[in-house]
Point group: C2
Chain length 351, copies 2
Amino acid sequence: MEYKIALIKGDGIGPEIIDQAVRVLKAVEEKCGHSFKFEEVLAGGAAIDAEGVNLPDRTLEVCKESDAVMLGAVGGPKWDDLKGELRPEKALLTLRRELGLYANIRPAVMFEELADACPLKDEIVEGGLDIVIVRELTGGIYFGKRATEGSHAYDCMEYWEYEVARIAERAFEIAMKRNKKVTSVDKANVLDSSRLWRKTVEKTAKKYPEVEVEHLYVDNAAMQLVVNPKQFDVILTGNMFGDILSDEASMITGSIGLLPSASIGEQNYGMFEPIHGSAPDIAGQNKANPIATILSAAMMLKYSFGLEAESAMIENAVKKALKGGHRTADISKEESYLSTVEITDRIIAAL
Amino acid sequence: MEYKIALIKGDGIGPEIIDQAVRVLKAVEEKCGHSFKFEEVLAGGAAIDAEGVNLPDRTLEVCKESDAVMLGAVGGPKWDDLKGELRPEKALLTLRRELGLYANIRPAVMFEELADACPLKDEIVEGGLDIVIVRELTGGIYFGKRATEGSHAYDCMEYWEYEVARIAERAFEIAMKRNKKVTSVDKANVLDSSRLWRKTVEKTAKKYPEVEVEHLYVDNAAMQLVVNPKQFDVILTGNMFGDILSDEASMITGSIGLLPSASIGEQNYGMFEPIHGSAPDIAGQNKANPIATILSAAMMLKYSFGLEAESAMIENAVKKALKGGHRTADISKEESYLSTVEITDRIIAAL
Ligand SMILES: CC(C)[C@H](C(=O)O)[C@@H](O)C(=O)O
Ligand SMILES: CC(C)[C@H](C(=O)O)[C@@H](O)C(=O)O
């Protein structure tokens, strides 16, 4: 099969980490006989510099014609003074919306090798952490009506039942392949949109009688992640709460620098990116950790192309490299460490 | 001076813990020559059972005529099937709004004696934690326009500049008496109301040149609380983000069962309550920990009555009792523990 992949390298360390993911994909290509066609397009700060807009039309076009999108990271201090619509991050929001990427899937996994970096006490995370956050990504307060009128401003958290139903389906489908538990997070004791959310999730749950469902208020969920994260299998939540909880969840794993993410739309079309930022302070130094991006490529193979075996191959290669003691600067406890390119060499060798 | 205090004992363990706070206040009364007049009124589940509404008019009247309100806790499984407006928690929201309690002040303090219960690794919390969360309490998405229309629902996060300005003033005033640092939390990269929030906080900050100001996005704040909570002195934020972050912050202290809170309006009028819930499972067993409620009484003396010395007296008595090894069931590591009344005896003895 031939797969067309749009590459948005983005800003800061974006280009160098995407380059490594491409190298890994090419190695998979050779091994497995698939063909990946890459096309580079601009978004974020890089696009602002080159074309004066954060998301050129051509970028959207190429993304739409592709089977999937890989993104490095966007933004940096250089563009920090730009306002609202002009900012690099705004390109992300437009991409999500225009490409219909309503399901943000973020595994929060503790890598055994990084257990030391976990901020929680050992007894709380004993045996590891393996949570998947399923966050609604094209609705809620991110895309509701908003306005500023002089000394007054508002943003509406809006949900339609179909929006909740389709993301709930995703969460239950994922739970079916895991430990069959979905924790839906809302603020139904205060918000109308959360009451709609809860009712809709309950409806969807009826279709998955094998899956245990639980509802938590968002304030409680933020606490439970800290004191008892092992209770979670799949966390299902809206755009705003998901933004907060998925970051909190990644952080408690201690492995935030290694975590990938997928943003999926209809027919498994998706955009894949590391959850970390553009790290402008180390950009261009061949020092960045490419693992989160490489694992994002693995998620692409699985979620968008259905290549489960090839995806697992990459994941295992990463694990092998980590087990082999190979480390980039951010996760090395010693003085010496591997460069961006070198650790990728090790991962490719382990494929 | 004579002070009039409305007592809302509420549900679950509410009555027994309020009773203990009253005992402590009576002991202070004797020692210091002030006079506290208590008047009991109903709200929450207790009011639903007695009068069919969660907040009788008389309750609001008595609260308004008083100098301050003390509240135990409201809610419980008995009333869980009630909908929206009828629920016990709704009484809380109405009280906040009707009494103009726009400033929610929640100390997140680690009690040395409970350091073991802290979920974070020792090196992260070494030297203790002492954060104050200042949460806007009568605006934002809790009180904006909302509606459910068939398969669609929305809630508006709304802010007026004056609402942000007055809560920001509070935060800066509190910071001036502490370590002179305010971290304002918003989502200004996405929300109009957050951009208004940030602009207004920056304006207020100009009046406090001695105070260091920092702005964090809410997702980042949720992460920083876990990996580096010691960076915070005063956290200033809106109603929704404050709900989430203040619970997360309390939880990381490991002392959540001991933490009080104040909700303040104009002229230092306020409502004071423990941050924990009504714990229906142990209600009426003389087993609940009254310390958070007793410390809420101390906050009342300080914030509403300006009785700083008397407030400190209570705080010190609590510390002394804890140092003396006195423990209720929730914080005891031994088989034996003190009852609700007994630990209060020790605190009164230590006054
Ligand atoms: C950059 C920002 C707009 C974005 C969001 O809030 O969704 C980011 O925090 C994320 O989680 O991908
Ligand atoms: C009970 C609920 C409505 C309330 C809130 O969300 O404000 C509670 O969580 C709190 O923080 O006091």
